[in-house]
Amino acid sequence: MNKLTKICAASALVFATSPVLAADVTLTIQNLTQGMYFTPIAAVAHTPDASLFEVGEEASSEIQEMAEGGSLAGLTTIATSIRADVLAEPTAGPLGPTESVSGSFMTADGNTVLSVVAMILPSNDGFIGLDNWTIPTEAGTYTLYLNAYDAGTEANDEIVGGGAPGTPGMPAPPFLTLGTGGSGVTAVSSNTNVHIHPGNIGDDDAVGGTSDVTNSIHRWLNPVAKVTVTVN
């Protein structure tokens, strides 16, 4: 499995313009938000008939475990089984605000589309998503902006809980500063299919209120991620 290596924003530009040996696609993914984190990212080149997720359709259990807890295990197992090219570092740390990660791969014949996913934190089941973007055959540098999606698999209660599929609440890794004692923003997810994330609500009460996220920090407006693809 290839690795995505975290780099600083400044060197990302340099890296993206440098040819990399034995690779025809270089990706740089930047977190554009001011206060949100991404779990380790999976970038997958695969055949156009496959799909990691579809807006308007129910999320797979593998997408659910990624979107609710950041796990890439299921997705990478499937990707490998369909002979996709996978660029992921499941044990990497989080990608903090404005940080970038970069990596390269040589896509196999037939793997002509690119998908990218990672959970956004803090959230219940939010994730960044790129769905079946056709990799250009013409060499060049291409820039894409990604929206935040809601997997539709968990109510956005915005209170600290767990990241396992089906466990309510948000995972709370130690690098996040979250509140406690929130009563829960909502108990339902009205759209149970994948959809554009409505955003966090949050509150400014660290020890109560309805939410355990901070309204002036843990919100975002789309786009939330920038993907720079260099086809060599």
Binding site: C8, A9, A10, Q30, L32, T33, Q34, G35, P97, T98, E99, S100, G199, I201, G202, D203, D204, N215, S216, I217, H218, R219, W220, L221, N222, P223, V224, K226
Partner: protein, 247 residues
């Protein structure tokens, strides 16, 4: 069309007839100093080339509900960035993003122009900027959403090298946070009409890097002490920018 002229170097051979000097020596012989050929290079200036104006019109349109835009800075620069996500903002950017003052940013360019005034919600302004003999400048635009702590919108380093006269380009752009002032939305902290508070303050109280803006929370959405209301909310995109090369 640019014509380049070089100074023509004319090699002039001047035959300088020096006066024949005699010096009387003690033995009365006469020494003659011979004629000397002197080569003098004289630079003859060619006709002075007339600078060719390269002009652009930049139309900035405010797409927000209730966020006036500060006078837009339109800056032509050779390279680099006016701002970029993840980078530490310049003081000039901070002055614009916190206080709507664009003079610092304007001074950074090879050529620049300021909007005449604030651009209200739904309004637009066309700003002309002219540079001489340079067709491959980078164009940046920056303007503050004034009913915020340090939100701004704009365009960073658009490559103009492919623009022929008459070419036009349009984009809608998002809102950035300068990262220099915490988004308290509190009374006295924002220069726009919703508050009438402080603009630029050199003390940095936020993340210290530029990022996409998370949006204003407002008092209507239960940010204690926020003087903003639901009217001041915005989303991406917030501004439309059209660039046309006119000469």
């Amino acid at each position: 069309m640019i014509k380049r002229f070089k100074l023509n170097k004319m090699r002039l051979a001047l035959l300088v007839g020096l006066p024949v000097l005699f010096s009387a020596c003690s033995d009365d012989e006469v020494e003659v100093i011979r004629e000397v050929e002197v080569i003098v290079e004289v630079e003859v200036p060619a006709p002075v080339p007339v600078p060719v104006d390269v002009s652009y019109e930049v139309t900035v349109t405010n797409l927000t509900n209730s966020q006036p835009l500060s006078p837009a800075a339109v800056v032509l620069h050779a390279d680099g960035h006016l701002f970029s996500v993840g980078a530490v903002p310049s003081v000039e950017l901070e002055q614009m993003a916190e206080g709507g003052m664009n003079t610092g940013l304007l001074a950074l360019g090879m050529a620049s122009a300021s909007g005449a005034g604030a651009i209200g919600p739904g309004g637009s302004e066309t700003i002309s900027v002219t540079i001489q003999d340079v067709t491959d400048a980078k164009l940046s635009v920056a303007t503050m959403l004034v009913n915020t702590n340090d939100a701004f919108s704009g365009l960073d380093a658009l490559d103009l090298s492919t623009f022929a006269v008459g070419d036009s380009w349009t984009a809608t752009v998002g809102v950035y946070d300068a990262g220099t002032e915490v988004n308290s939305e509190a009374a006295g902290t924002m220069p726009g009409p919703a508050d009438g508070g402080e603009g630029f303050n050199a003390t940095r109280t936020d993340t210290g890097y530029v990022a996409m803006h998370p949006g204003v929370v407002t008092g209507d959405d239960e940010l204690t002490n926020s003087v903003l209301t639901v009217q001041h909310k915005f989303d991406n995109p917030a501004v439309r920018i059209m660039v046309t090369r006119i000469e």
